[in-house]
Amino acid sequence: MFVFALFASMLLCVCIGSVNIPIKNTLTAMWNTLWGLEMPEGVSKNIIVNIRLPRVINVALVGAQLSLCGAAMQGLLRNPLADGSTLGVSSGASLGAVISLAFGVSIPGFEYAGTMIMAIGFAFLSLLLILSLAYVLDRSMSTNSIILIGVIFSMFTSSAMNLIITFASDHARSIAFWTMGSLSGTNYGQSGILLLSFVLGGGVILRYACELNAFAVGEDNARHIGVNVRRVKLVILIAVSVMIGVCVSISGTIAFVGLVMPHMTRMIAGPNHKRLLTSSMFSGAVFLLLADLIARTIISPVELSIGVVTSLVGAAAFIVIFYRTRKGR
């Protein structure tokens, strides 16, 4: 069902846009390009293959990874409100990306590598900082203190970013892009990088589905049934930071996907991570594809940031979830 929904929405997103293209033409264009065939008359290959298709692929990959990261963090921290954006990991990653942009950190020969490595490094550092701070302040690492620290950390990074904008005003536009997120103008090269991080990070996380179940039941219980708590936690956190770092360096911060989608998926697929992780990937991809579709069509030809759409949906869902978990206690 999830696979079907994914392909249906991918196709839909390729077809609809400032120029609507019939499904038949879209499919022919893709088919013919794949096999190197001649393009029939009246089919706009350029829009489909060079603009929309890479964008749709990248949106799906980013959505899947953000959602998977959210699901993993929610299980690991046993906290339905955990996610890269509520914990401040993605704002940390965007701070890293912005710093490398403003100060021109780059590795010769690789155009994106500097930004990407900074984003990944900062994502991991912020995760470590937030969790250790939470541990020092509150040994039980309760839901609320972790989220509070995440919020404070996000505020700190946004003020740091404002500071950078003040000093590097010529980069202001590209920095603003990182705070809201957008996937316009992405290319196949980025798809490759996203796919790589998806396969590596996602593979690691899927392999730890059983351990995540144990963590979601309780960390003490996980230790008692023989889970190598420290190692599993570290490996999952690294995988999450790599995926979030890569996503942020390509798409900017897209809030709430990782929070809302695993949560909604859990209602359908149940809490068992063996099903939850894969289902979350698909639902995250579908959600982000639709959000991207809304972002680029609703006030066409002007394009909204994708983060605006996900935040609007996400903020409402966040309140509902928070209210319900408080009441359930």
Binding site: C210, E211, N213, V217, D220, N221, I225, G226, V227, N228
Partner: protein, 257 residues
């Protein structure tokens, strides 16, 4: 009698506060060792140290080898711990939580559904009277049902040493009796041993072969149950006449004729 678990000079400090102070004891095959003592004596902390749930100094040996040198899943194949406080974050089914007890036996790259494990999970559910609840969400369970769920998990884990923190917690009298005789049956197989924290000294007296009376992180008395739970020892530790209190309780149950 072979020594299966040995605890040597275990000390735990939280800042200035010493929770456990050079506690030593050993557990031998066939023994049911009761860890008794007033609130805050350090009983639960002692149990936490075995899987390094809390930092400690001193040594704990399992079959002559330091537990710190065991890989977590190998340790869990030998020792099963049921903690005092159990709560579950998400709505897993009873069966899923009990099934987690098989983790230590199934880890590895090949996810082979072990038939023996399936049988053990079914047996554990049966023994703890949870068969009818196997598909129920753990969030809907009562305190006693949740307690039995985690007991079933540790039975499914099928260790050689059972370590139970307050197994009678939340259980009604029927289940207290049921679970304690269950553990006694379990213990009858060769190579097994039980260590449990209990508050109910009557249970300690009835089921414990040996008892260690802990007070202020130190062993106040240690040995055979009948030699440890004496009027004098209890008076020292609890600062009250436990015997008189227990007799008084018993008198409530004399049938009026």
């Amino acid at each position: 009698m072979t020594k299966v678990l040995e605890v040597r000079n275990v000390t735990v400090r939280y800042g200035e506060h010493t929770v456990l102070d050079r506690l030593s004891f050993s557990l031998q095959e066939g023994q049911w060792l009761m860890l008794a003592g007033p609130n805050g004596a350090g009983k639960s902390t002692m149990i936490e140290t075995i899987f390094e749930g809390t930092p400690y100094t001193g040594e704990i040996f399992l079959e002559g080898k330091n537990v710190r040198k065991y890989k977590p899943h190998l340790l869990a194949q030998k020792i099963g711990v049921m903690a005092q406080k159990n709560s579950v974050g998400y709505g897993y089914t009873v069966e899923e939580v009990v099934g987690l007890g098989r983790y230590a036996h199934s880890s590895g790259f090949l996810v082979n559904r072990d038939d023996e494990g399936k049988k053990l999970v079914d047996e554990a559910l049966e023994k703890t009277g949870l068969m009818h609840l196997r598909k129920a969400s753990v969030l809907t369970l009562s305190g006693g049902e949740l307690q039995r769920t985690f007991l079933a998990q540790v039975f499914a884990q099928n260790p050689q040493i059972l370590i139970l923190d307050e197994p009678a917690n939340h259980l009604d009298l029927v289940y207290q009796k049921h679970i304690f005789s269950l553990i006694q049956e379990w213990l009858a197989f060769p190579g097994r041993a039980v260590l449990s924290v209990v508050h109910d000294l009557s249970l300690a007296k009835k089921y414990g072969t040996h008892t260690i009376l802990v007070n202020g992180g130190q062993a106040a008395a240690y040995g055979k149950t009948e030699e440890v739970l004496t009027r004098e020892n209890l008076k020292k530790v609890y600062d009250m006449d436990v015997y008189a209190w227990m007799r008084g309780m018993l008198e409530q149950w004399t049938e009026e004729n």
